[in-house]
């Protein structure tokens, strides 16, 4: 029998996004967890079907503001596969640079939030201070700080001039020192270590059974990275290490992410060195064949999959998106059971959940699940 149920969320100070956790406690210890998401469900997959392929690039970029270019890269890769076009090399490298900088900003943001959850607000401020360098660089390349909108079908929208590259390299050099400092901090600081060590342990078998992805999987010793597995864009030409750890607890996940930041920095600099003058886009041939495609990228939080089916018109017939947090959230029970209530924010944060892309819809009426037809879904708004 459960002794006490503590609701956590949906608008909880420790969680930036709405998620509703039900924690069943025995004294201080968590015995069982239930969670409900869906507060952010907007119905983007359906909206993607009502807009044409070109405008969808922007919509897919707004599925998640933190991994915006991962989404739009994945979407454009899919459509390019559908149209059977090969984008110019320069465009590939620019996409790599933006993706890696995005990973950097996402991980820094995450580190800041982890610090905040631990009550270590100085770390939050430190991480956010360094993050501004990344955002500055992204603004230089794409013109925007957060939702970048650099991708288009057939290439990228903005060229990278020589002056920008010089500034960029300078920014990245400054950043390298700062991130290195953060890495040392995370490894040595006793407060961070004590709050993260042995919290939310997932071993290799759990990861394989639950099909977890991204840094969470790599922190448990699973060597899985789509950049290596799929070799999309220019990752085939670039030499990089996949960071893994063995322990599988929150501290291992922290270390994986921090070391991944250094790796991303190196990758971005390498990609800049590889850039040669040339075109940045090709004009696509605008006939959409009836076909299905799947594309995958490594978003900051893990594997992101887009499935696109075309019916020959200028709008996709179906777009299905599988986001990394959707895959990872399932491990919530595993990582929380057995810990105390005070560890919940850190354990949840160590997964790096990003819910705006995860929320799905289930319509429950009279306690029963109801299945409604795809066509009726839109009318549901007016009920």
């Amino acid at each position: 029998m459960h002794k006490l149920m503590v609701p956590f969320g949906p608008a909880h100070p420790a969680l930036p996004e709405p998620v509703y956790l039900k924690l069943f406690l025995d004294g201080e210890e968590i015995e069982d967890v239930d969670f409900s998401v869906g507060y952010n469900h907007k119905g983007i997959e359906k909206a993607l079907e009502e807009t044409d392929y070109f405008k969808n690039v922007f919509l897919s970029g707004r599925i998640c503001g933190i991994c915006s270019s991962a989404h739009s890269t994945c979407y454009t890769l899919g459509v390019e596969k559908l149209l059977n076009i090969e984008i110019p090399d320069k465009a590939k490298f620019i996409r790599v640079i933006v993706s890696e900088l995005e990973r950097l900003h996402s991980h820094l943001l995450w580190l800041g939030l982890l610090g905040h959850e631990m009550g270590f607000d100085t770390l939050f401020m430190l991480a956010f201070r360094e993050r501004e360098y990344v955002l500055e660089s992204l603004e230089l390349i794409t013109g925007k700080r957060v939702v970048h909108d650099i991708n288009m079908i057939g290439g990228v929208r903005r060229d990278l001039s020589h002056e920008i590259m010089v500034k960029l390299v300078k920014n990245l050099e400054i950043l390298e020192g700062k991130v290195e400092y953060l890495r040392k901090l995370v490894r040595k600081d006793s407060l961070i270590r004590r709050r993260t060590l042995r919290i939310g342990k997932l071993d290799k078998r759990d990861v394989e059974e639950l099909c977890l992805v991204g840094p969470v999987a790599r922190a448990s010793g699973v060597l899985y990275d789509i950049r290596r597995a799929d070799k999309y864009l220019a990752y085939d030409d670039l030499n990089f290490k996949i960071v893994t750890q063995k322990k599988g607890d929150a501290s291992a996940r922290t270390l994986v992410r921090v070391r991944e930041m250094l790796e991303s920095l190196r990758l971005a600099r390498l990609a800049i060195a590889f850039i040669e003058p040339g075109p940045i886009k090709v004009k696509p041939f605008l006939i959409f064949p009836e076909k299905e495609v799947i594309s995958r990228v490594e978003a900051p939080r893990g594997e992101l999959i887009y499935y696109i089916r075309s019916n020959g018109t200028d709008k996709p017939a179906r777009v299905k998106i599988r986001t990394p947090t959707y895959a990872n959230l399932i491990s919530l029970k595993k990582i929380l059971v057995g810990h105390t209530l005070a560890d919940v924010p850190v354990a949840v944060a160590s997964l790096d959940p990003c819910l705006s892309c995860t929320d799905r819809v289930t319509i429950v009426k009279n306690g029963k699940e109801k299945i409604i037809k795809w066509e009726d879904l839109h009318d549901h708004e007016h009920h």
């Binding site: 100070p13 869906g38 503001g65």
Partner: protein, 158 residues
């Protein structure tokens, strides 16, 4: 200031009222609620708190509870599941309060015009005082919006 001794209870209240107004003007506390935004706006709000922009120098603080707040800052196009909670939170904020709609989503549903799960924009559901445009709004714009919000707050509290 708090130890001013007055005989008349009425005067005491007046002073307390004065202090409240002064604090509200000098240190508005903000409660942020995400009604289904893409997170772009939320992280820009965090960036506005970070050392580079630092809106805390205006006395602003992000607070976790609506009961402590003066300014209600809302991002996102208001999803159907969030709607009731939004109204609930709005009612919990003590008067006088200012509502800020941040980002193209909250202002006009933005890019999510034909998504079925969206029932915004925000001003269809609760009264809005300040609109901050941009997708996402830049930290400079956020600070400007909050400053305008404080002006309205001062006017509202008389």
């Amino acid at each position: 200031m708090l130890h001013v001794i007055v005989d008349d209870y009425g005067d005491d209240l007046k002073i307390a009222e004065k202090i409240r107004k002064y604090c509200q003007r000098k240190s508005p506390w903000i409660f942020h609620f995400d009604t289904g935004s893409c997170n772009g706006c939320d992280i820009e709000l965090l960036a506005a708190m970070s050392p580079k922009y630092d809106f805390e120098r205006f006395g602003c603080l992000l607070k976790g509870s609506p009961r402590h707040a003066d300014i209600f800052l809302v991002t996102g196009p208001v999803t159907r599941k969030c709607k009731d909670r939004l109204v609930n939170l709005y009612e919990q904020i003590p008067e006088p309060k200012v509502v800020i709609a941040m980002g193209a989503c909250a202002v006009s549903k933005g890019i999510f015009q034909n998504a079925y799960g969206v029932c915004g924009p925000l001003d269809k559901i609760i009264p809005v005082d300040v609109y901050i445009s941009g997708c996402p709004a830049k930290p400079e714009a956020i600070i400007d919006g909050i400053r305008k919000g404080v002006e309205i707050l001062t006017r509202k509290s008389g």
